[in-house]
Structure formats: C-alpha cells, structure tokens
C-alpha cells in the first residue's frame, strides 16, 4: 500500500517536472513573432519567379473550385436578355469579329492590289486556336488571368503567344506551368504591344496603364473616341492585325502639347470572360 502511494507520488513529480521543462522551452510570443517576420521577409525578398510556384500550386490544386465559384459569380451577374435582342457581350463579340474580318479584307485587298495574280495564305488559316477555361479572372487591381492549359496538355503553349477573348486580343502568355498558364493582359503596366490605330493607320507601341486601360503616347493627330485599335502583325505569333481595343479618350501630352496621348480600353469585357483562345501560329 505504501509502495503504491510512493509510486503515485513519484509519477506526479515526474509529470510536474516534465511540465516545468516544457514551459522553460516554450517559445515566447516575441520570439515567435520575430521568427515568422523573418520567414515573411525571406518570402518578400525571394524573386517572383520562385514564389510564383506557390501560386501555381494553389491554382493547380484548387482549379475546379476556383472555376466553379467564378462561374457562379458570373451567372449571378448576368442579366436576362430581352427576346429578339442580343446581349451587350454578344453584340461586342460580333462587332469585334466584324472588325477583324474587315481588317483582314482590307489587308487582302491591299495584297491583291499589289500582288495581283499571286496566291497567298488566308490570315490565321494555318494557325491553331487552343481554347482554355479561365481559372482566375482579372480584377481591378490585377491585370492577368490564369487559364487551365499548360505544358502537360501538349498544346505548344509558349511565352509571348497572343490570347483572344470574344474575338479580340486581350493579352499575351506570360508564364506556362505544367497545367496552367498566365495571361498578361495588355492593360498590365508591364505590357508593351505594337499597335496600329484604325483609320489613321499609324504604328505605335501601346503600354498598359494598370487599371483596365492602356496608353499610346505622342501621336501627331487627334483620334476619335471609339476608333478601333489593332495589334500589329508579329512574325511567328500573329499573322494578321487583330482588334485589341477601342479609343476611350484623347488628351494633349503634358510635356509636348502639340502631341496627343490616347487611352485605349479593351474591346471586350475581360472580367466576364469564361474562356479564351490562344493563337498558335504554325503548330507542330
């Protein structure tokens, strides 16, 4: 009986000692905070190309719920169309298609005039259009979207390829991972695309403005609001000029008041896109 009592007492002491020891090794709040802040600092300093892996992994793992919740969000925003009236989105899509066809026709006319009798390939005839679903849509702050096509899909996706949304160019592929790809919209601050401004037929570089618009600077002539802006041909990436946006505003340049700065807005509602098409010229 007495031995049992001593055994219980010894066990109790042992447990108490263990608790005391664990209390002594317990990390204080200050140390914990500094450790976590250091981890945050390392992630902060790490290059974007490394840390993008975290984001790509998240997009890969949760691509289905992300797509589903985005689709639910879009369906709640969609308005019911009146009978015999097409929706604004459909109207814009068809308008963009018409603009592209007209531009192709214009190009063809020019070629026919210059090279009458010579055969040429119809623009985009040899191109492959890879349709992809939008996993993460663009928002006011971000100027990129993520699509569900990547290296593993054997679609020949590569950096720099143009991406179509509702028949208009919306941006270029900026990064391709195993199962997803990032599309940098032409409105992104880092985006620079050679464009042709419709009726003036002027070639310029368009730079993204970051808030659903882009800017073409230093133009000699004033341009009308609503004029179409076309992405220029680019060997191996785009065979024919295609509509990229419309002129939303034209202001005098602050440094050179004789010149004009043009604000360009996308030709489609990029936020509402469910799917896009990547243009692959000369697919293997």
């Amino acid at each position: 009986m007495r031995e049992e009592k001593y055994a219980i007492r010894d066990t109790r002491y042992a447990i108490r000692n263990m608790i005391m020891a664990s209390r002594q090794t317990k990390v204080s709040n200050q140390v914990l905070f500094i450790l976590l802040l250091l981890v945050g600092g390392i992630i902060f300093i790490a290059p974007l190309s490394w840390t993008r892996e975290f984001q790509s992994t998240f997009d890969n793992i949760f691509s289905w719920p992300l797509r589903f919740t985005t689709a639910v969000s879009l369906s709640t925003r969609a308005q019911k169309a009146l009978p015999d009236v097409v929706s604004r989105r459909e109207h814009n899509r068809l308008q963009n298609h018409l603009a592209n066809v007209m531009q192709q026709l214009y190009q063809e006319h020019k070629k026919v005039e210059k090279l009458s009798g010579l055969r040429s390939r119809f623009p985009l005839e040899g191109a492959d259009l890879v349709v992809a679903d939008v996993i993460r849509a663009s928002t006011g702050g971000q100027s990129e979207i993520i699509i569900n096509r990547g290296k593993n899909d054997n679609d020949d996706l590569a950096k720099g390829q143009f991406v179509l949304g509702d028949n208009s160019i919306i941006g270029t592929i900026s990064d391709v991972s195993s199962r997803t790809a990032r599309v940098r919209l032409f409105t992104d601050s880092a985006s620079k695309i050679a464009v042709k401004i419709g009726k003036l037929n002027i070639d310029r570089i368009m730079q993204g403005g970051g808030s659903n618009s882009a800017t073409v600077r230093m133009i000699k002539h004033k341009v009308k609001t609503g004029d179409e802006v076309f992405a220029r041909k680019k060997p191996g990436l785009l065979d024919t000029p295609m509509i990229i946006g419309k002129v939303a505003g034209c202001q005098r340049n602050k440094e050179s008041p004789l010149l004009w700065d043009i604000t360009v807005e996308p030709a489609c509602n990029i936020e509402a896109l469910n799917d896009v098409a990547v243009i692959i010229i000369n697919p293997q």
Binding site: G40, F54, L66, R67, L74, A272
Partner: protein
C-alpha cells in the same frame, strides 16, 4: 486552437475570395475579417501564427508573394496585443476595428508591393485605387461581425465570452 479546422477555413475563404468574390464590385475581404476574428478571440501566440498564415494565404491569391504576409502579420499581432488592453466586444467597435485594420493593411501591403516590384523586380506597380480600397474596407466592416458567429461555431470558439491571456 484547432489547427486543422483553421486550415480548412483559410482554404475555403481563399477559394471564395479568389473565385466568387473576385468579380464583384462591392466585396468584403474574408481573409481580413478572419485576421481580426483570430486576433480578438484567440490567445496571443495563436493570433500571431494565425495572422502570418492568413497573410500567406492572401499572398497566394494576390499578385506578389511577401507584402501581405508581413502586413497581415504586423497588424494582426498589434491587434492581438491591443486586445489585451482594450476589449473589442461590441459589434460597432468590431466594425470600426475591421475598417481601420483593412485600410492600414492594404496601404502597407501596397507600399511593400511597390518596394518589391520597383526595387527588387524592376517592373512597374499597379496603381492603388483608393475608391476600391475604401469600398472593400467598408464592406468588410459591415459584413465582418456577422461572419464572426459562424466562424466561432466552426472553430469551436465562444464568441460571447471575453478571453484574457
């Protein structure tokens, strides 16, 4: 602290924020609401870990990695320590705290994003739209206290009792 439940909650909030809420014009910041919740209702050490973890999740669904983890971690920890001195129990006070925290974290995160992209990556930073920031902070402040009850139920934390650690 039930960490498995916490992980599930953060994943669900991140997916909803990046998918469903991303396209809405008026939206609350779910991760920020959770940051305030854990800073108010958890003991300080748990609140510090939760703040940095939520910041990491916010970075994953954001544009660049790093700014949010530091911003959320700093302000979450500060709020947890503040809560030891001032009890934030009533809904209007909770709303006010969410609004202030949302504004401060967003401004600080944008500053860090600017530093990271401009000086470390050498690329331009997207402009900060103050109207969007204010609307998001306001929506979070209005909706936040109503998320506390289901969050408390899921995390098995009693939200009607003041806990001092």
């Amino acid at each position: 602290m039930r960490w498995f439940r916490f992980a599930v909650l953060i994943i669900v909030a991140s997916v909803l924020q990046a998918g469903f809420l991303e396209l809405l014009n008026f939206k609350p910041d779910l991760l920020l609401i959770l940051l305030v919740f854990f800073a108010i209702y958890c003991k300080t050490s748990d609140a510090i870990i939760a703040s940095f973890t939520i910041g990491f999740a916010a970075d994953i669904i954001g544009s660049a990695m790093g700014p949010q983890i530091i911003s959320f971690g700093l302000f979450g920890t500060a709020l947890a320590y503040l809560h030891r001195v001032i009890a934030i129990k009533k809904i209007p006070y909770q709303s006010l705290v969410i609004f202030i925290t949302a504004t401060l974290t967003a401004v600080f995160a944008h500053l860090l994003t600017f530093l990271k992209l401009t000086f470390l990556e050498g690329r331009p930073t997207p402009p900060m739209i103050f109207a969007v920031l204010l609307v998001t902070s306001l929506c979070s402040a209005l909706a936040g206290p109503f998320f506390f009850l289901p969050t408390g139920w899921w995390m098995r934390i009693k939200t009607n009792r003041l806990r001092i650690h």
